[in-house]
């Protein structure tokens, strides 16, 4: 149990940021890139038939909750995680843990987080934040995607924790209960990299992993033929938002993962990881290039087939380069 003053650090992404901040509070000096890499956060998925807010689902990261759980497991950190049926019980449990001086991670809906800029407040229920104290009637909040600590009223926090719509957070909260001196960073890094390679290269279905990049590329090519211009622009806009707006550190988490490979390479004194970091940075630049041109096409609301064809090709470049890179990462000797 730590009675240390909680220190807030800003990070690029909510789950990896909360992971880093909770672990740092326990004396584990871990960066966000390291948390993201060990947690095998990098991924890609495109599911044309599952529509979220009317647009096909696209994701650049692994499912919510996986990063924190995997990091805890790989670094021998004991955690307690719990869901609740009753909002009052969830808030009481939060208060009880805070009273012991422990910071608490939570899932919540971005829509009800009054401290966030209005432009970002959509119904997104898988956001992670930390409460590190309570002062009279306000909770002290460390939300890793914003620059400083902030506060929220209990009635807004409970709305956020019990927001409806899939997935429902159901008051999910988690905190560290113990750490171990037998942490093996090298092993954790190896497991993280192997798992990312598995998820990027092994899925047997077209919607997940590297294959999904090519699926999206084919879909994009068909947008001007199959969709009215406004809808095509919406679909393209959503891909840009998933890649850049939701807090990925840039290029759909690719820069964040490249930072991890670089840090892992330094720690393990491996030049190959440093090289792959550089390679992934270039791939990230190509994702940014794709987003740049996607935004241009989206703004023009063009029905120009050539533009969408070119956009599709830019995406395929990313797909091919990533396939090459992850094949190399998979073949690493440990």
């Amino acid at each position: 149990m730590s009675e240390e003053k909680f220190i807030h650090y800003q990070h690029a992404h909510c789950e990896s940021g909360v992971t880093a901040n909770l672990l740092r509070h326990e004396g584990i000096d871990i960066s966000e890139p390291m948390a993201f890499g060990i947690g095998a956060g990098l991924f890609f998925g495109h599911i044309p038939f599952v529509k979220i807010n009317g647009v096909p689902g696209t994701t650049y990261r692994i499912w919510p909750g996986a990063i924190f759980k995997r990091v805890a497991q790989r670094l021998q950190v004991k955690i307690h995680a719990e869901k609740f049926r009753e909002p009052s019980k969830a808030m009481q449990a939060l208060d009880d843990v805070l009273a012991t001086g422990k910071p608490v991670g939570m899932l919540g809906s971005v829509f009800y987080l009054t401290y966030l800029p209005e432009a970002f407040r959509f119904h997104f229920n898988a956001h992670n934040l930390i409460a590190y104290g309570k002062e009279s009637t306000e909770y002290l909040i460390s939300d890793p995607i914003i620059e400083d600590v902030t506060r929220i009223a209990p009635e807004d926090l409970v709305k956020s924790r019990f927001a409806k719509g899939a997935p429902e957070p159901k008051g999910y909260m988690y905190y560290v209960t113990g750490t171990s001196k037998d942490m093996n960073m090298a092993k954790a890094i190896e497991q993280g990299i192997k798992q990312t390679c598995f998820f990027m290269l092994s899925p047997p279905v077209p919607w997940f992993g590297n294959k999904a990049i090519f699926l999206l590329a084919d879909r994009i090519k068909s947008y001007p033929k199959k969709l009215p211009p406004r809808k095509a622009a919406q679909y393209v806009g959503n891909v840009i938002r998933m890649q850049e707006e939701i807090g990925t550190g840039g290029a759909g988490f690719r820069y964040l993962y490249a930072a991890f490979l670089q840090e892992a390479g330094q720690l393990l004194k491996r030049d190959d990881l440093a090289e792959y970091s550089t390679e992934l940075t270039k791939i990230g630049d190509n994702w940014r290039n794709f987003a740049y041109h996607a935004a241009r096409i989206m703004k023009e609301r063009t029905t120009d087939l050539v533009s969408y064809d070119e956009l599709s090709e830019l995406l395929k470049i990313c797909g091919r380069q990533e396939q090459e890179l992850f094949e190399k990462l998979r073949k690493l000797k440990w």
């Binding site: 690029a12 800029p117 490249a258 940075t281 940014r288 935004a295 989206m298 703004k299």
Partner: protein
């Protein structure tokens, strides 16, 4: 992306939006570091489009409410970025039940309790919900 290339394109989409997000970029020494960014025009444009779409749909709905074709329910539903499925979930009702409440003559007969529940979900007062014309 080099540290010098991290964009600082202000969003200017809603009031007071000056949050600087953290990006990862490479310094001249080749080392990754975190850099704050006020925004990137590509992502700003996508976000702006999403809000423009919402505003456009909301304006269309508002016209229909003022013309007496729809009750205020779909207006406030869209204002709160909800769809029928999500609103029905919050109300604890079937979607077809909520959809019925879109009809002005059905809306007029709703109980005070139901109106209170809608108002709470929409974060407005019952008076604002039942006003003749929806507030801008």
């Amino acid at each position: 992306m080099n540290v010098s290339e991290v964009p600082q394109d202000p969003r200017n989409i809603k009031q007071g939006d000056t949050l600087k997000k953290k990006m990862y970029a490479v310094g001249d020494d080749g080392k990754y570091t975190g850099v704050k960014s006020a925004g990137w025009e590509a992502e700003n444009a996508a976000l702006r489009q999403a809000w423009n779409d919402i505003d456009e749909t909301l304006a269309e709905t508002e016209t229909k409410v003022r013309a007496g074709q729809l009750s205020p329910i779909p207006y406030f539903m869209q204002k709160n970025l909800m769809d029928l499925s999500l609103l029905a979930r919050y109300m604890g009702k079937w979607q077809w039940q909520v959809k019925r409440h879109f009809k002005p003559d059905v809306f007029k007969k709703l109980s005070a309790g139901t109106l209170d529940k809608y108002a709470r979900i929409f974060n407005i007062t019952k008076e604002e919900l039942t006003r003749q014309n929806p507030a801008r």
